[in-house]
C-alpha cells in the first residue's frame, strides 16, 4: 500500500513539474518601457518612444517571438520626467513585472537616478534619449545607451560656431542634469577647442513659465547666436517668449535637441518657430539599412507621417534586446547582459555594439548628429536642409532676416 502511494506521489510530482515547465516556456518575456508620459516630463517624446517600442514588440511577435516561440510583452510605465517617479517605476518594473530590460529613458536627471536602482536590481536599463555624459561615464554594468553624449553634441556645435564666426554666444539652460551638464561642457570646450567667442549662460528653473527676465538679460547682452537649452515645455516657452521680446529671429536660435521635428511643433509655436537651427539624429533623406527602412515604411503607413528619432531608437532598442535574448538562448538577465556586451546587433541606422570604452564611451553607441534648419513657416521636416556637419550637409545655413 505504502509503495503504491509513493509511486502515485512521484507520478503526480512529475506531471506537475511537466505542467510547470510548459507554463514557463509559454510565459511571455516582458520588456519595460519607462518614459515620460505626463508633465513635467517631455510627454510628447514619451509617446513617440512608446510607439516605437510597441511596433518592435508587434514585429517580434509576428516573427514568432523569441527563444523559440515565447511572446514579448511591453510593460509601459510613466516616469513623469521626475527622478522620484522614475525610481518608483523602475522598482515596479523590476520587482513586480519582472522585466528582463527597460528602455525609454529620456530625461538625464531621471536616468541618472534610475540607473542606480537598475544596478541594485541587476536589470539592464537603456537610455533612449538621455544624453548626460555621466550616465555612461559611471561605468555601471547594467546601463546601456544608444544615443549621443552631450560632450559630442557640444563639440559639433562649437565647430559650427567657429565655422560661422559667431562672436557672442548666449545660452539658457534648465537647472537639471541635462541643462547643467550642457552649460559646463560648453564652457569647458570653448576653452579646449579655442572658440574665439564670448559665452554668456543663464540658468532657469525647469518649472518656470515666465522667462522674460532671463531673456531680457540675454537681449541686452546683444548675442549673435542664442542657444535654447530647454527640454519639453521650456523649449517652446523660450522660443515663443524670445520672439516676443525681439531676441529671435534676428538673433539666430539653436535648439539642442530634435523637438522641432515633432508633429506638435508648428501648432504650438506657429511662425515663431521659423529660422531655428536644431539638432537631430535622423533625417528623411538618410539612406537606412534594411531594418530602419522597413520600420520607416511601416511607421509611415500606420501614422501617415515621417518617423521621429525617439520612435526609431526605442524600436531599435527593443529589437536589440530580442536579438540578444535569442543569442543568449536564455531569459536569464546575466546571460542577456553577456550577449549584449559580446554581440553585434542590427539597429535602425547601422550595427550596434556596446564596447566598454574609456570615459563616457562605456556600453555606448552613438547615432549620427545632424544640424538642421527650418527656413519656411510650417516647413515639412523632409524639406528641411542639413546644414552641418559637412559630411551630412544637404544645404547651406541661412542667416535669419534682421
Amino acid at each position: 500500500m505504502n509503495r503504491r502511494l509513493w509511486i502515485c506521489l512521484v507520478m503526480l510530482t512529475l506531471v506537475a513539474a511537466g505542467f510547470a515547465g510548459h507554463a514557463s516556456a509559454q510565459k511571455p518575456i516582458k520588456i519595460g518601457v519607462l518614459t515620460p508620459l505626463s508633465p513635467p516630463g517631455d510627454a510628447g517624446a514619451g509617446q513617440l518612444i512608446v510607439r516605437g517600442a510597441k511596433m518592435a514588440v508587434e514585429e517580434i511577435n509576428g516573427r514568432g517571438g523569441v527563444l523559440g516561440g515565447r511572446k514579448v510583452e511591453a510593460v509601459i510605465e510613466d516616469d513623469g520626467g521626475t527622478p522620484e517617479k522614475g525610481v518608483a517605476g523602475l522598482r515596479k518594473l523590476a520587482s513586480q513585472d519582472q522585466v528582463v530590460a527597460v528602455v525609454g529613458q529620456f530625461h538625464s536627471s531621471v536616468m541618472t537616478a534610475v540607473q542606480q536602482v537598475a544596478e541594485q536590481f541587476k536589470v539592464p536599463v537603456f537610455a533612449t534619449q538621455a544624453s548626460a555624459r555621466e550616465i555612461t561615464e559611471r561605468h555601471l554594468n547594467y546601463t546601456f545607451r544608444t544615443h549621443v553624449i552631450d560632450a559630442d553634441r557640444v563639440t559639433i556645435w562649437n565647430r559650427w560656431i567657429k565655422e560661422r564666426g559667431f562672436k557672442r554666444v548666449a545660452m539658457t539652460a534648465e537647472n537639471t542634469d541635462y541643462g547643467v551638464g550642457l552649460v559646463e561642457e560648453t564652457k569647458k570646450q570653448f576653452k579646449t577647442m579655442d572658440v574665439k567667442a564670448e559665452l554668456k549662460t543663464v540658468m532657469f528653473d525647469r518649472t518656470a513659465v515666465d522667462l522674460t527676465p532671463q531673456l531680457l538679460e540675454i537681449k541686452n547682452w546683444k548675442p549673435d547666436l542664442f542657444i535654447n537649452g530647454g527640454i519639453g515645455t521650456p523649449v517652446y516657452l523660450t522660443l515663443k517668449q524670445a520672439y516676443d521680446i525681439g531676441v529671435s529671429p534676428a538673433t539666430p536660435m539653436l535648439i539642442t535637441y530634435d523637438a522641432p521635428v515633432r508633429p506638435e511643433y508648428w501648432k504650438t509655436v506657429g511662425e515663431k518657430g521659423n529660422w531655428v537651427t536644431f539638432f537631430a539624429y535622423y533625417h528623411p533623406t538618410m539612406k537606412l539599412p534594411p531594418r530602419g527602412e522597413a520600420f520607416r515604411k511601416r511607421y509611415m503607413a500606420e501614422f501617415k507621417e515621417e518617423p521621429v528619432y525617439a520612435a526609431l531608437n526605442s524600436y531599435a532598442q527593443v529589437e536589440v534586446i530580442a536579438d540578444a535574448l535569442n543569442m543568449a538562448k536564455s531569459d536569464r538577465i546575466d546571460d542577456l547582459v553577456k550577449a549584449l556586451l559580446s554581440g553585434k546587433f542590427e539597429g535602425w541606422n547601422g550595427t550596434i555594439t556596446f564596447p566598454r570604452g574609456e570615459g563616457p564611451y562605456w556600453q555606448q553607441w552613438s547615432p549620427p548628429m545632424l544640424m538642421i534648419q527650418y527656413t519656411k513657416v510650417e516647413q515639412a521636416f523632409g524639406e528641411s536642409k542639413i546644414v552641418a556637419p559637412a559630411e551630412f550637409k544637404t544645404g547651406d545655413w541661412v542667416r535669419p532676416p534682421q
Binding site: 515645455t233 517652446y236 506638435e264
Partner: protein, 296 residues
C-alpha cells in the same frame, strides 16, 4: 547698471505681478467668504486655459479670442457653482464636523482629478491658441502682445470686481458675509447662496488668468502649478482675505523678483519671493493688509 535694463525688469515685474494678482484675488475672495483655502485653484487656471484654447480652436477661431475669454470664464464659473453645491456645501449644513480638513481633502482631490482628466481628454502635450496681438512696447519694455492684452484685461477685471464689491447689493452682501457669516443671516441673506457665488467668481478669476496667459505660457495639464504657487505667495505677503493685499502683494512680488533678477541673478528668481514672504511673516504675520482674527 543700465537704467534701461532696470526699467525693463521693473515693468515686466509689474505686468506679471498684476496678472498673478488675479489668481491671488480668487484665492483670497473664496477664503474671505467661505473661510476655506481652495488648494485646487491652479486647476481652474488650467481649465480656463483649456476652455479658451478649445473655444478658439473649434468654435470661434483665433480672431474672436476676446469672445472666448468671457465664455471660458463663464464655463468655469458654472463649474465652480456645481462643485460648491455638490462638494463644498456639506461643510456648512451641519454634516461635517472638521471643516478645514474636509475642505483641504476635497480641494486636493479636485486638483488630482482635474489634472488627470486633462491628461486623459487632451493628452499630455502642450497647445497654444494663436496670438491675441502682435508684440509691442510698453515704454522701454518690449512685450508680447498677448501679455499686453492680459495686462489690460486684468486691469478691467480688477476694476469691475472692485465696482461690484463696493457698489452693488450683492457686493455689500458678500462684504457682510466676509465680516460675519452669522450676522449676515440675521439680516435675512442666504449665506449658502453667497458661498456659491463667491466660489464661482473666485475660480472664474483663476480661469481668466489661465485664458489670458494661454498663448504665452501654453496650455498643458500642469500649467496652473506656478500661478497657484505665486497666488499663495501673494496672499501671504498681502494678507489673507484682503483684496487690496492681493493687488499690492502681486505688484510687490513681481517687482522684487525683477529687481532680484537684475541685481543678483535671474536664475534664482523664484527664491526672492520666498525671502519677502519669510520677512513679512516675521515682521507682520497677518500679511501687509491682513487683520488678526478676533473671536468672542
Amino acid at each position: 547698471m543700465d537704467p534701461v535694463l532696470v526699467s525693463q525688469y521693473v515693468l515686466s515685474g509689474v505686468v506679471i505681478g498684476l496678472i498673478y494678482s488675479l489668481m491671488a484675488l480668487g484665492i483670497t475672495f473664496i477664503y474671505g467668504i467661505m473661510k476655506m483655502i481652495n488648494w485646487g485653484m491652479g486647476e481652474f487656471y488650467m481649465l480656463g486655459s483649456y476652455a479658451q484654447y478649445a473655444l478658439i480652436a473649434t468654435l470661434l477661431g483665433p480672431r474672436r479670442w476676446w469672445l472666448a475669454l468671457p465664455l471660458a470664464m463663464g464655463a468655469v464659473f458654472v463649474l465652480g457653482l456645481i462643485i460648491q453645491r455638490l462638494l463644498l456645501r456639506p461643510m456648512f449644513v451641519g454634516v461635517v464636523e472638521r471643516r478645514d480638513e474636509y475642505a483641504t481633502i476635497v480641494t486636493i482631490a479636485m486638483m488630482v482629478f482635474f489634472r488627470n482628466l486633462a491628461i486623459v481628454v487632451g493628452g499630455p502635450n502642450q497647445y497654444a491658441p494663436g496670438d491675441y496681438a502682435k508684440p509691442t512696447r510698453l515704454g522701454p519694455l518690449p512685450i508680447s502682445g498677448n501679455r499686453f492684452v492680459a495686462l489690460i484685461a486684468t486691469l478691467v477685471l480688477l476694476a469691475l470686481f472692485y465696482l461690484v464689491v463696493k457698489h452693488t447689493a450683492i457686493g455689500r452682501a458678500l462684504r457682510g458675509a466676509a465680516q460675519n457669516r452669522v450676522g449676515i443671516q440675521t439680516a435675512g441673506i442666504d449665506v449658502l447662496r453667497l458661498d456659491m457665488i463667491a466660489f464661482g467668481v473666485g475660480v472664474a478669476l483663476a480661469a481668466a488668468a489661465g485664458a489670458l496667459l494661454a498663448p504665452d505660457f501654453l496650455v498643458y495639464p500642469e500649467n496652473g502649478a506656478i500661478s497657484t504657487f505665486k497666488g499663495f505667495e501673494i496672499i501671504v505677503i498681502g494678507g489673507l482675505g484682503s483684496i487690496a493685499g492681493s493687488v499690492v502683494g502681486g505688484l510687490l512680488l513681481g517687482v522684487l523678483e525683477a529687481l532680484g533678477s537684475v541685481f543678483i541673478s535671474s536664475a534664482y528668481r523664484d527664491l526672492y519671493g520666498f525671502v519677502l514672504l519669510i520677512l513679512v511673516l516675521v515682521v507682520r504675520p497677518t500679511g501687509l493688509f491682513g487683520e488678526r482674527e478676533r473671536t468672542v
